[in-house]
Amino acid sequence: MTSKISPGWIGSSSYVVPINVGALACTTFRDFIVIGGLTTNRYAIRWCSIGDPTDWPEPATDDARAKQAGQESFPSEHGYVTALAGNDFYMYIFQENAISKGTYVGGDIVISVDIFEEDRGCVRGGRLVQVDDMVFFESDRGFHMLLNDQITDIGYGKVDDSYGG
């Protein structure tokens, strides 16, 4: 899905504002752009109309349901939604102390979400990087890699002892 930036675009002088809300993170998941850590609800994610990142209808409206746009809130005890990582098949939603996996189911639900980690999360925005299907992130315990729903503590020992929080 990733597109190469064409040389002709460099220096482009315009952009478009599609939605009047702020967020801490964004990612591409299937045919959706998903934003998380909204200024209106730091524990929530919101996604655009299917196949159209320029269209963000108000969630829970007929227009949103028709276009599969929506919003989902997460338990506040796990902290803010701080980071997102997605691909063509699933997405991960990182809170400060939890990780959830979202899959596309369509219908009225659109994205089904299940929490599978309730300890490690992404400690704050900007502490995650995705390389293909590997997701590297920092929790309040150290550095980790998430791949195929398995978390590896890659910083265990000297690295976490030196740089961990």
Binding site: Y15, I19, N20, G22, T28, P53, G86
Partner: protein, 159 residues
């Protein structure tokens, strides 16, 4: 055991000498990045240059965050200059904005009042067919009363 002091340099390692790597050991020109710091080459004649990496005018740019986009060496940047949030590719400012019912028109975003300690707090970028999408949030701490104000923006540009 000595108390550990956490200093975030992100992927820049001025302290690399400790692990026997070749690296900077003195931070001379550092600018704020999200939750950390990164080096910057200071110029005086222009606010940005696309050559030699990111270059910023010390007189105007107070905060800068960059994320790679595409498959080459292009960077999507968000920075604060003259009390406004600026967004662009490789430091080339996008100077106009369309509006699709968002209510935020005009560019750049102007802070209501001049303040101190303004910085980009969060910045993220993703790509979809034909678009690069970004979210940016900046904070300004006012001197009196001491209040943090969140300033945010979402947008996309066609690739």
């Amino acid at each position: 055991m000595a108390e550990q002091v956490r200093v975030d340099f992100l992927n820049w390692r001025p302290d690399a000498e400790d692990v026997f790597n070749q690296g900077l050991v003195v931070a001379t020109n550092a600018i704020h990045d999200t939750e950390g710091w990164k080096p910057v080459h200071v110029k005086t004649t222009t606010s940005f240059s696309t050559t030699g990496g990111l270059e910023a005018s010390a007189a105007t740019v107070t905060s800068l965050v960059a994320k790679p986009i595409g498959t080459g060496t292009d960077l999507m940047c968000a920075w604060i200059s003259n009390n406004t949030v600026q967004i662009g590719v490789n430091g080339v400012t996008m100077t106009s904005a369309g509006s699709v019912g968002g209510g935020l028109t005009g560019y750049p975003l102007a802070f209501a009042t001049a303040g101190t300690d303004q910085q980009i707090s969060f910045f993220d970028v993703c790509e979809n067919e034909g678009f690069v999408f970004f979210v940016v949030e900046a904070w300004q701490r006012q001197a009196s009363p001491l209040t943090s104000v969140a300033l945010r923006h979402i947008g996309y540009a066609a690739i």
